[in-house]
């Protein structure tokens, strides 16, 4: 057994290089090319007849969401090519008899599930994964079981059920203006394995797969992913993105080779520049958690440190043991989501003690309660405490 790949400390595009972006209205797509694609890890999409799914998370919890497709990952432990890919890897569709009436619901076991079909050992290395949901579940489940100490200010419900149910809103990709057209007219590069997706000049998502053919097959699924709400306003109001055009210095051109060199420089500069514009995620410290381990690969989910002044992302990644990024998909967090997560983090860090948390945040206890209520967690506080605090801070 190979040694376990280390947990990610920051997301870097090792093994990938960015090149010239393609712009359509307010959407900018930066292609990521893989220098040396290997085919011992392949990813295929599996469509669901029923977009609505109930996912059993184990330990008696379930999760209901819009999951239009799943990803099936096949790998080999010894570096040889994956025998089947595409439709063969995705496997036959599991038909739900209710789906043809449009009222079916997909029932899925766990976010990431090892699927074993048949006796052939080559067919046994398969993992089914719900893209982005893995990361989102990790985000939602943060401090899910609050609070541990039954402080008297908390409501009975908070003590018995914690934050359950915890919900967050997201947008479908179809809601974002021009995203669908931008994906349709995007010209996929030869050897392209990923994309940085900017909407209204904000980094919306990073999507990386291991093989160019898989990217070609999965490119359009970006429209089915979910995105945070700020992107809707960014796409509408930030104006059209500008294509990055280069000017050559005619005075320095003495031959066709000079022109060729100038063209090469322009390409290199553009790649570096586009990676720089994604600095809100790439190179930031992240906290990762291993979800699954398979041969030389590990599936991890991660979150950048929550800083309201910066872009914050959650995501999932598959990393080879040498640190090559084989799969990644990220979700940009909305400002409100960051605020909520930070508040829960602070409360958790201080053992859910309101006074201690208020002191740490340099505010009063009543203001803190008002803030908890404002972020939608008012149901955690006992009603008389909440009312009194709201009255005093009116």
């Amino acid at each position: 057994m190979a040694k376990a790949p280390a947990l990610l400390r920051s997301l870097s595009l090792r093994g990938l290089s960015a090149t010239h972006a393609q712009v359509f209205a307010g959407v900018r797509l930066v292609p990521l090319l893989r220098d040396a694609p290997r085919d011992d890890l392949r990813i295929a999409g599996r469509r669901h007849d029923d977009a609505w799914s109930i996912v059993n998370l184990g330990d008696g919890r379930a999760y209901c969401s819009y999951v239009p497709h799943a990803l099936v990952i096949g790998w080999t432990d010894d570096g040889s090519p994956v025998a089947s890919y595409g439709a063969a890897l995705a496997g036959p569709e599991v038909r739900n008899p209710l789906s043809k009436w449009g009222c079916g619901v997909q029932l899925l076991h766990r976010m990431a599930r090892r699927e074993v079909r048949g006796e052939d050992p080559a067919e046994r290395n398969r993992l089914r994964l719900l893209p982005l949901h893995l990361a989102m579940e990790g985000f939602l489940a943060l401090h899910f079981n609050a609070p541990e100490i039954a402080w008297s200010e908390y409501s009975r419900r908070a003590i018995s059920r914690g934050l359950d149910p915890r919900t967050e809103m997201s947008l479908s990709g179809r809601a974002i203006p021009s995203l669908e057209d931008a994906l349709r007219v995007f010209e996929i590069h030869e050897g392209q394995c990923g994309v940085l997706l900017f909407v209204g000049e904000l980094l919306a998502s990073v999507f990386v797969v291991s093989h160019p053919d898989d990217y070609r097959a999965l490119h359009r699924t970006l429209i089915e992913d979910f995105y945070e709400q700020t992107l809707l306003y960014a796409a509408r109001h930030n104006g059209d993105s500008q294509a990055l055009e280069h000017t050559f210095d005619a005075a320095r051109i003495g031959s066709l080779d000079d022109l060729r060199a100038a063209l090469g420089r322009a390409r290199a500069e553009a790649g570096a520049l586009h990676v720089d514009t994604a600095a809100g995620l790439l190179g930031r410290p992240i906290a990762a958690e291993r979800v699954y381990r398979a041969g030389p690969f590990s599936l991890q989910r991660f979150m950048t440190e929550l800083d309201p002044a910066l872009d914050n992302h959650i995501g999932e990644a598959i990393v080879r043991e040498d640190g090559t990024l084989e799969y990644a998909k990220t979700y940009r967090l909305a400002a409100g989501q960051v605020r909520r997560a930070r508040l829960l983090q602070q409360l958790s860090a201080h053992g859910w003690n309101l006074d201690a948390t208020a002191a740490a945040l340099r505010t009063t206890r009543d203001q803190l309660i008002r803030r908890i209520d404002g972020e939608g967690f008012g149901y955690l506080i006992a009603e008389h405490v909440l009312k009194a605090a709201l009255k005093r801070t009116k």
Binding site: T19, H20, A21, Q22, P31, V185, F186, E187, I188, H189, E190, A243, L244, E245, H246, T247, F248, A250, I253, G254, S255, L256, L259, R260, A262, L263, A266, R267, A270
Partner: protein
């Protein structure tokens, strides 16, 4: 931006505005067909081209009419004819005569279904002036086989006859207006059409489009129809039905070399890759023959030519124009190979065999352009939809630096040919100010379009453009003045055939041009005509 725009002139240049308007319009008329493109919807295209037509018609009516002769595509010829007939009460008599003869000549060169549909649009727009009626009458009178038209285009001919109060010759009136007639017709085709209402056997003697409808109503199988109607199919129908025939196991022999170049290219590209690989030699020979035939129609002789051909994903076109940009690129490649003394093609992604080309990948024009320039050609033809993204704007920069530093004597000329109309800009999308752009719909129109390219560059004065249009108008009229009533433009001379032109000036019809082109001037134009058509900036 590559270059700072020049300082605005102190005076408002009417002439420059007029020239740019016209160049933009003619360019749009080469490329746009009102159909959806890869980057634009059909709605946007229709609105955009409609606006251009109204604008040019309102401001430069005489030149608008002469654009009919500029070698523009059928869609725009039909639009111009209809727009001219719908307006023009204020037009001076001489101009009106010229317009009338240009419209008649242009309609005669259009395929009949397009010409009839254009004329029928007059009825939908409620245009029924004396000239419109005369044009309809003249067009129908000039058709070689009125009985065939009455059967194949029955609805069109009937609508036009009603609209223009026509006296139809022979039995055509009763055929169109007495649908329940029992008495036999003397004309054989009309009689077969009458019998087809009762007898299944008669269906297969009718034109295919008519037979298809009757066969469907009568429950005749597709297989039987294709087999038995095969002798009556046109070449275009055979080509179109190849796949249907393959499904039904019917062998439809088709002579690919007789079809127009772009149609052959479209057909070749519609085949799956294995079929193209198997039939490689046949397709290659057909494209060669089609290119040679296109060149016989409008000859072009070029020196050392390099072509930069765009095979990016956007060349796959739209659902209405499937693979059209790629097919035009393939056609242009074969045409240039046949026309040039030396030729090399540089595809944006190199392809081992042109027949197997597919629309994939990004648009990188700069690198193949550099390769092409390194080969030291006389002319570089860039064929692309103008959406360059790897890197954006680099081809124009390469061309600018090359012109400024490496080729100040303009030994090599670079021209961009664009098969796609960009409705947002009212023109085919340009690569940049240093490369002139012209539109193109069919690969076989390339010589005409190259002749026009010097105006797209923006250096030729307005007077020269006006002379060019006048000369093309004379050439068009002369083709039809000689053979009034000729329906098929099969034996037409080159676009600016000098021989025909000299004879035409003396003809009565061309006298209408007198106020536009001095006779001496026209004769002088006639001499320089063949050279002008092939000049490249």
């Amino acid at each position: 931006m590559p270059t700072a725009p020049p300082a605005p002139p102190a005076r408002f240049h009417t002439e420059r505005v007029e020239r740019e308007d016209l160049v933009m319009f003619i360019n749009a008329c080469f490329a746009c067909t009102g159909q959806a493109e890869f980057y634009g919807t059909s709605g946007g295209q229709a609105v955009s081209i409609e606006f251009l037509h109204e604008y040019i018609l309102g401001n430069y009516r005489r030149l608008y009419a002469r654009t009919l002769a500029a070698g523009i595509n059928h869609f725009n010829q039909a639009r111009i004819a209809v727009n001219l007939l719908a307006t023009g009460a204020e037009t001076p008599a001489a101009d009106r005569r010229e317009e009338g003869s240009l419209i008649a000549a242009a309609l005669r060169e259009l395929p009949p279904q397009r010409a009839l549909r254009a004329l029928r649009e007059l009825r939908d727009r409620r245009v029924n002036n004396r000239r419109a009626r005369a044009v309809i009458r003249g067009y129908l009178a000039g058709r070689p086989d009125p009985a065939f038209d009455a059967v194949k285009y029955r609805a069109h001919v009937r609508a036009l006859a009603v609209h223009a109060h026509l006296q139809l010759p022979g039995e055509i009136g009763p055929f169109l207006f007495e649908p329940r007639r029992r008495a036999p017709f003397e004309t054989p085709l009309l009689e077969r059409a009458r019998q087809a209402r009762y007898a299944k056997e008669a269906i297969f003697d009718l034109p295919l489009t008519v037979a298809e409808g009757l066969a469907a109503a009568r429950g005749v199988s597709r297989d039987e129809l294709l087999r038995r109607a095969a002798p009556r199919m046109t070449e275009g129908e055979r080509l179109r039905l190849q796949r249907a025939a393959g499904r039904e196991d019917v062998d439809l022999a088709v002579d690919l070399g007789r079809a127009p170049l772009t149609r052959v290219a479209l057909y070749a590209l519609s085949l799956p890759e294995e079929a193209r690989r198997e039939r490689r030699d046949e397709l290659h020979a057909a494209l060669d023959r089609a290119a040679a035939r296109a060149l016989r129609k409008s000859p072009a002789a070029l020196g050392r030519v390099a072509a930069v051909l765009d095979r990016s994903y956007s060349a796959s076109g739209s659902s209405e124009k499937r693979r059209r940009p790629l097919a035009v690129a393939l056609g242009v490649s074969y045409l240039l190979r046949a026309a040039a003394r030396e030729y090399r093609a540089f595809w944006t992604v190199p392809t081992p065999d042109e027949i197997l080309v597919g629309a994939h990948g990004q648009t990188d024009l700069a690198a193949p352009l550099l390769d092409a320039l390194a080969w030291r050609p006389d002319v570089v033809v860039i064929l692309s939809d103008g959406f360059e993204n790897d890197p954006p704007g680099a081809a124009a920069e390469v061309a600018r630096c090359f012109r400024a530093r490496l080729d100040p004597g303009q030994r090599t000329s670079i021209v961009h040919i664009n098969p796609v109309f960009d409705s947002e800009r009212y023109a085919p999308r340009a690569l940049g100010p240093s490369i002139p752009t012209v539109g193109l719909r069919d690969a076989e129109d390339l010589p005409t379009v190259l002749g026009f390219a010097r105006f797209a560059e923006g250096t030729a004065p307005l007077a020269e453009l006006e002379r060019y249009l006048a000369q093309r108008a004379v050439a068009l009229l002369s083709r039809h003045a000689r053979t009034p009533g000729a329906a098929e433009p099969a034996v037409e001379p080159g676009p600016a055939g000098a021989v025909a032109l000299a004879g035409a000036v003396a003809l009565a019809d061309a006298v209408a041009l007198a106020d536009a082109v001095e006779p001496a001037d026209a004769a002088e134009l006639a001499e320089e005509a063949p050279a002008a058509a092939l000049e490249v900036p």
